[in-house]
């Protein structure tokens, strides 16, 4: 077999299309606004559109990391937006209720407390899916419905505003010239990568997602695995909620993290992880989240009201799904002599 050339390897790389799409989007921006990519240094911080994009991508990236693992097990987590709202509510009420509202220790305690709550909420989803055997979309729908109510119950229906510089740094702070929010998300990405690829978790998640029955027969504890990924997804969603709350220094239970589950699913799908479960790509999800943040930035930049971004996201969802759909691919490809005898109906039972 001839050694594949660098070009050929690059062409076959699964990240090729997401990265290309991101580059095209950036190119559009540069054409409209030639100084789009310029970054300047001010007070030891970097400023510019690109920096804004990576900062704004943090919440979606965080949620999408957890979602990637959930989707890899053939699941879905619709409750992430609600969990984000709960996390923000818990943290903000803790900060407001603390003796010294502005202290570092207050912020740390509040954040820790909120994340523990989210971990439990994620575990609850995992319980419904792994133990009771309820379909993931239905199981997480329950918390999706109830979650914002819980969040409002925590804040007593008020928009709670906090005043803690440490907490707001989570969104607007800079470390080593880069936005802290992005660093948190990126750190989480590295942590997730380590958690899945340095341990056997990633392989077992994929095995469960690709062939649950074979995994069961091989003795894989799929319950534990599924439970773990939902809990992790809850944690990621909580962290995202905290970043969003820190950005406005307040929590509005009704709107915080609204539709973030959809953005996250979109990021995962753009990144090349199939919704049918199985192989996942954290790097792909990273690019996907950047793509969404860039798209959100692009729309006002090319002179369209920023709210219309939903329209473009819809187009991206449809395009990506069609690209992944075997049926659409078959239609695009030139017709062969005869269609493969694809079973119209996969008959259960004994083969042949």
């Amino acid at each position: 077999m001839p050694e594949p050339t660098l070009v050929r390897r690059a062409l076959r790389h699964p990240l090729l299309w997401p990265v290309l799409a991101l580059l095209v989007l950036l190119l559009v921006n540069v054409v409209v606004n030639p100084s789009f990519l310029s970054v300047r240094m001010q007070d030891g911080h970097l400023y510019g559109n690109v920096i804004d994009i990576i900062r704004n991508s943090a919440p979606v990236m965080l949620v999408a990391l957890g979602m990637t693992l959930v989707i890899a097990t053939r699941g879905i987590d619709l409750s992430v937006g609600a969990i984000a709202a709960i996390a923000a509510a818990v943290a903000c009420t803790r900060i407001v209720g603390a003796g010294d509202e502005g202290a570092l220790v207050t912020a740390v305690m509040a954040v820790t407390y909120a994340l523990v709550v989210c971990l439990l909420l994620g575990a609850w989803n995992g319980f419904l899916v792994a133990v009771l055997g309820i379909q993931p979309i239905i199981a997480t729908l329950i918390l999706m419905v109830a979650g914002r109510g819980i969040s409002m119950a925590i804040t007593d229906g008020q928009i709670t505003t906090v005043n803690n510089p440490w907490f707001s740094d989570l969104a607007s702070g800079f470390v080593l010239t880069l936005p802290l929010a992005f660093l948190v998300a990126f750190g989480m990405l590295l942590l997730t990568a380590a958690l899945t690829r340095r341990t056997a978790l990633g392989m077992l998640i994929e095995a469960v997602g690709i062939n649950p029955e074979a995994s069961r027969l091989a003795g894989v504890r799929s319950r534990t695995i599924i439970w773990t990924v939902y809990a992790f997804s809850g944690l990621c969603a909580g962290l995202a909620g905290l970043v969003i709350a820190a950005n406005t220094n307040s929590v509005n239970a009704n709107s915080l993290g609204l539709w973030i589950e959809l953005d996250a699913i979109l990021a995962v799908v753009i990144g090349g992880t199939s919704l049918m479960g199985g192989r996942f790509s954290l790097a792909g999800t990273f690019v996907g989240a950047l793509f969404i943040a860039t798209l959100t930035r692009t729309i006002p930049n090319i002179g369209i009201p920023s709210e219309v971004n939903y329209l473009f996201k819809a187009i991206v969802v449809i395009a990506v799904c069609l690209l992944q759909s075997p049926r659409a691919r078959a239609m695009l490809r030139p017709r062969r002599r005869r269609p493969t005898p694809a079973p119209v109906i996969a008959k259960a039972g004994s083969p042949a």
């Binding site: 729908l141 329950i142 699913i265 009201p305 473009f312």
Partner: protein, 332 residues
């Protein structure tokens, strides 16, 4: 000896009547509704007034229509996340076209056509391109919301005289009254119940939810039916949007956020199985009424905050889903 051997009186027959198991979820929902009404009526003065019941229909007319469309989709084992956004889009189209001076009837047609077309698009994505329903309708959610913002980012109020007169058109039953919107909603329920129970299309909807590959092997028109339910859901969503715009008399991109969740919850609380194949539109109607009743009780109480609504809805959803899970598991 004498009295006890008398043939069972009709009361005994009524008392001994056990509904077929397939109606049990609807019966349970009905009992829940009656129970809520009874308890509410005892605790809060004025709640037992029959007008409260009529107001339930009136205030929830749009949700009833939405739940009817959703029932079709869920019966096939699908889900439609786009309906809330389609409602918002409908209010916006109505408001904007009326603002531009269109005839109100033309405006109504435009609204219904848009919703139906969006439904068709999602149905085609789901069936012909085999995209999972929640992803396809998620695209629909974004699409409809995006189009709404494209029309206008600001709220537009509806002042057209035909529209406003329609909105307040009232039918009196003695001292009680209903609005037209509620009657439209009830008519939708009746038509949908007939279609599901007595037409080939309706029975195919159940067949697909029961076992899709069987339905294909039986030679049923699976493709047309599966696309059809999304078209119906889209149509119902736009009709619900019209009713909503009559209720609220404005078009706004922020309308009906999360309303799809209310519709799904109503359908599930009405006893329809989320995995498809089992359920009735009557149940969905009752589901909406249960949710409406809880809202009314919270309003009458005054000390309970409105967010309890969502929490209670979530709890009810949980209860129904878990019970259904174990009920279907035992059957296997």
């Amino acid at each position: 000896m004498s009295a006890s051997t008398v043939p069972a009186s009709s009361w005994d027959r009524v008392r001994g009547y056990a509904p077929p198991p397939r109606y049990l979820p609807v019966v349970a929902t009905f009992a829940l509704f009656v129970g809520l009404y009874g308890v509410g009526g005892m605790r809060y003065e004025g709640l037992s007034d029959p007008q409260v019941l009529l107001s339930l229909l009136l205030d929830n007319a749009f949700l009833i229509v939405l739940a009817v469309g959703m029932t079709f989709v869920i019966l096939t084992g699908g889900i439609d996340l786009s309906v809330g956004s389609v409602v918002a889009l409908s209010t916006m189209i109505a408001a904007r076209t009326l603002e531009l001076g269109w005839s109100p009837y033309l405006s109504i047609v435009a609204v219904l056509l848009t919703g139906t077309l969006l439904g068709l698009l999602m149905g085609v994505l789901v069936h012909y391109f085999q995209i999972q329903p929640f992803v396809a309708t998620l695209a629909g959610l974004f699409l409809a919301r995006g189009l709404t913002y494209l029309i206008s980012v600001k709220s537009i109020s509806i002042t057209d005289p035909t529209f406003t007169s329609l909105a307040f058109k009232t039918v009196y039953f003695g001292e009680y009254y209903l609005r037209w919107t509620a009657i439209v909603a009830l008519l939708t329920v009746v038509v949908a119940a007939f279609v599901l129970a007595r037409t080939r299309f309706g029975r195919t909807v159940y067949a697909i939810g029961g076992n899709e590959s069987s339905a294909v092997l039986m030679g049923l028109r699976v493709a047309a039916t599966k696309v059809g339910v999304y078209v119906i859901s889209g149509f119902c969503a736009s009709l619900a949007g019209l009713l909503f715009s009559l209720y609220i008399l404005s078009g706004n991109s922020l309308h009906a956020v999360g309303m799809e969740l209310d519709a799904i919850a109503a359908v599930v609380i009405g006893g329809t199985l989320l995995t498809g194949g089992r359920g009735y539109v009557l149940g969905s109607l009752l589901g909406v009424l249960v949710l409406g009743m809880i809202k009314t009780i919270i309003a009458f109480d005054g000390t309970l905050s409105s967010y309890w609504m969502r929490i209670i809805t979530g709890l009810l959803l949980l209860a129904f889903v878990v019970v259904q899970r174990f009920a279907t598991r035992r059957q296997r």
